[in-house]
Amino acid sequence: MGEIDLSVDLGGVRMRNPVTVASGTFGYGKEYAELMDVTQLGAITVKGIRLQPWPGNALPRHVEVPGGMVNAIGLQGPGVDGFVRDYMPFLRTTGVPVIVNIWGTSVEEYAEVARRLGDVEGVSGLELNISCPNVKEGGHAFGTDPRTVSALVAAVRAATRLPLMPKLAPNVPDIKVFVRAAQEAGADALSLINTLPAMVIDIETRRPVLANKVGGLSGPAVHPVAVKLVWEAAQAARVPILAMGGVTGPEQAVEFLIAGASAVAVGTANFIDPTTPLRVIDGIADYLTRHGLRSARELTGSVAMG
């Protein structure tokens, strides 16, 4: 075990192991600190932050479905200054790299949030949430048009030297187009997948269950979709991939690494078993030992296609 090297470099974010948590499923880290040793994580990815505090959506914000859940929390958050003031002091004590998920309703807002986080001690990287409603552009998501992805990443790139990882939307015809757009605009890594757009209707009332009407599907149900997208993305990617979608144990994490990811994030499973990320870290090490491998990096992209 002592010879196993789990460390990975996720586009400049140096992780001691390839496991982080998916944005929005782990709060700002301290919420789970009594239930699991957060200092063991490879990185902590925090809930999405925009420039100003944001109230999120009306309730209900979630609904359980077979194989997972559909949520439309609506990115409630304290705004960038509130985040730095209220949450960074704890996060700094963990000694773990912090990846801040950022969003906005305009390219300028993303860039400004990135600028303000640029010299905050303890922030190691930025994940760009590009699957949120782009109000300024007339309601389309940034993430489903390669031109807006390109413009957004370029603008944020110009605003910060922090490692940048756009979180790609899964609901696109060809993920490789978005991979290229993001990396050509200066992305250091890529994060995928975001939740799949979904809807649940109460057949008795004939109303959508979620107050927002639609939301995002997460959990084990999306895992095979994510594996396919990670595998495709890896074929076009020159930068490392952070994979997420339905990781409930080490098996799905190893599968993502084999498909082409350099690191993985545990999401919905945190709600069900908060020790999942730690089980995943241990399980990856066990897998490497069983297969005579010395480093997690040897697994990345090792899928046998012949």
């Binding site: 239930l35 949520n71 069900i272 078993d273």
Partner: protein, 259 residues
């Protein structure tokens, strides 16, 4: 807050769809306070099934007692748990009721909302009045537990099958009037459906007393991370904030809640 594999030591049906479940839960039971809850991973559901929150009905030494009503597939699956089996429980969670009443304690329960109030009555160190409401007689639980502790119990059912006919606010209004007539103020504690909580809160405002309301919301993480169970709240200075029922609650004073 602890994440404990708890052994089932007792599981018994109460009335109709209500059950009592006793768990050997070590530190959870030892540190639990009235009004707090636990987040339970229900065995027998698929691996993606979310945890279910339950109020703490009682805690003695290392044994935690929960009350639940079968309302869906999660609680249906809970009824199949047998003595000796283990379930994963996170708790105690939430803030709990304050235990220093400024007046005569009056507890108002709707259905399984009686669970945390029963635990409260045990821990208050004094007696008072408990008002239990339900649709029908089988929705009225734990009456004997309160009586053993020396509490005055008043019951109202909507169909009149037990106690007086109507909503629990009928005996509440009478109790508040009786206390007022002898120059006493009340301290209200309530757990039940939102409509009942709103009505109790409105009486507290009228009577100039405090009402501690236990909110029941669907939850996901249970620890304040996911923001699925939020509630609009008002601070004493009038400013607004969004609280997490699981972490900042589930108990709020009536004046805090923006319905």
């Amino acid at each position: 807050m602890f994440d404990v594999a708890c052994k089932v030591v007792r599981q018994e049906p109460l009335t109709a769809d209500y059950w009592s479940l006793e768990l050997e839960s070590g530190l959870i039971a030892e540190t639990a306070r009235p009004g707090q809850f636990v987040h339970v991973r229900v065995p027998g559901l698929d691996r993606a099934a979310l945890r279910r929150p339950f109020s703490i009905f009682g805690a003695r030494e290392n044994v935690l007692r929960l009350m639940y009503k079968t309302v869906g597939r999660g609680t249906e699956a809970l009824t199949r748990l047998r003595v000796g089996e283990e379930i994963q429980v996170i708790g105690p969670l939430g803030n709990g009721f304050p235990l220093e009443p400024q007046g005569e304690p009056v507890l108002v329960a709707g259905g399984y909302g009686v669970a945390p109030l029963c635990f409260l009555a045990e821990r208050l160190g004094r007696t008072g009045t408990v008002l239990i409401g339900g649709r029908t007689a089988t929705d009225v639980l734990a009456r004997e537990a309160f009586e053993r502790l020396g509490w005055t119990v008043k019951i109202a059912t909507q169909d009149g099958s037990l106690g007086e006919v109507g909503l629990v606010t009928l005996p509440l209004d009478r109790t508040l009037a009786e206390l007022k007539a002898v120059g006493l103020s009340a301290e209200l504690y309530a757990c039940g459906p939102d409509g009942m909580l709103k009505a109790v809160g409105a009486r507290a405002l009228e009577a100039g007393c405090r009402a501690w309301l236990s909110l029941d919301k669907h939850m996901v993480c249970g620890v304040g991370a996911c923001l699925a169970c939020v509630q609009n709240l008002r601070r004493p200075d009038g400013s607004m904030w969004i609280g997490r029922v699981c972490h900042d609650g589930p108990i709020f004073e009536a004046r805090e809640i923006v319905w």
